[in-house]
Symmetry: C2
Amino acid sequence: MSVVVVGSVALDSVETPAGKVEEALGGSALYFATAASFFAPVKVVAVVGSDFELGQIDFLRERGVDFDGLEVQEGKTFRWGGIYHENLNERTTVYTHLNVFEGFSPRIPESYTDAPFVFLANIHPELQSHVLDQMRSPRFVAMDTMNFWISGAPDDLRRTLRRVDMLIINDEEARQLSGQYTLARAAEAIQRMGPKSVVIKKGEHGALLFAEGRVFSAPAYPLARVVDPTGAGDTFAGGMMGYLARKGDTRFESLKSAVMVGTALASFCVEDFSLRRMREITLADVKERVLELHEITRFELDLP
Amino acid sequence: MSVVVVGSVALDSVETPAGKVEEALGGSALYFATAASFFAPVKVVAVVGSDFELGQIDFLRERGVDFDGLEVQEGKTFRWGGIYHENLNERTTVYTHLNVFEGFSPRIPESYTDAPFVFLANIHPELQSHVLDQMRSPRFVAMDTMNFWISGAPDDLRRTLRRVDMLIINDEEARQLSGQYTLARAAEAIQRMGPKSVVIKKGEHGALLFAEGRVFSAPAYPLARVVDPTGAGDTFAGGMMGYLARKGDTRFESLKSAVMVGTALASFCVEDFSLRRMREITLADVKERVLELHEITRFELDLP
């Protein structure tokens, strides 16, 4: 089954303690699509400027990513510049030039409207709703959001939340959105807002899945070296949704496996800048890493 | 097999968003002993002042905790006062009155010197070494330490580290001690300092175990409500060491189970102030929580 993703395409200039890149491919839609393409056909809805070299995304077309929903607008592509400091958890945004992304109004091509899986990356919640208005009857919709919309567009956000099956959000945002400190309570509160399933991303500490009244705790892969954390969250979501679309199933056991696939892909993502590492690896590498994640969390129950 | 613990006995006055207590039982040795006593005979080495009501620890004697090594000195017992703020991760120390603990020089009773398991709680590393000088030939020694000794007594700390089998330390301290940011690299660096095994505690994010060239990632129990985090680290260590002493084995599989038992006990510890919750629960409760932890981390491998 296919997945529609609506989000950004960006050219990122990133500096980390490990090095730097200039105007490298980025944006939520591209990270998501690259990760999801290991498992399922992906259909991208995004906008780029007339300066964007379309040949750059040919490798994704070869992987079955559909760009019929990629609008090319007169003007410049979204550009973001940032610096990650020593501990890689804090970053300074040097600039955010939204450019053509500023007026982005997602138009879903007719050929996309039957897609059973939809991911609404981090855009204005009103636009997220607008995407859903254009879809026929998706089987499973997941969304991301951020602090900016939680405080700046709370009513729109609440309306969108009522229409989705899953929220994938980081821990600080889960606390902010719910007003609850423990993540168990935060997830409960968010579930009451609409999404039956909540995934809380904790970066280097893994992720928690709450669904069907149950909890699943996923570890992070204990990497010795992180080069660039940019895009890890969208990569995680891409791995999850790609896996679910491939499986065609969203029961708890499948959601758990999906979280592990997302975790594995996110761990590859941060091993290099931009999409580089994900372009090098194969499905076999992803599977091997999931096996490693299984191994590092497995324990025998041997109690007196 | 028995476990010797060397650490503090304190009277803690703690305020958290959930309430407060005045001069409640605390200190690393008591948290450790309470947790370990679910599994093995514990022998305590610590000091209290002449103001300490010894009847307060009768419940531990009934659980097989040996206090022959508890020195009663003229003067006052160690007192600590602290306030935990909204997110429970930050705390303000209101006062630290070391009192008789200031001149603590651990003397190991003859009857303790053959104990095969030893835990050196967070005291000056020179005193930790001094304890080991008095033990015959313990099979397995674990220790804790803190930022204060890492920066204030680095040479003493290095000498003690060379003599122990396991360091149990929190994530920030692991980074400080090793100079490495990723926890995988931090653990490697610490292993080169002596301890073959390293356990890195991440509070609400669980713990990582590094030993025998392998890694184990333990989740935290996703509590809906945390009342008081005081003592969670020593409780974790007590659960681990008690389990290992009961098992009489320290191979990787046993270390993993020990980490899960420590995790379960620490999750009970923080459900109430002081030792209260641990006094209420039974071994069956601990086992049930370990089973729950197993359940929330278990996933089937189902990859295309």
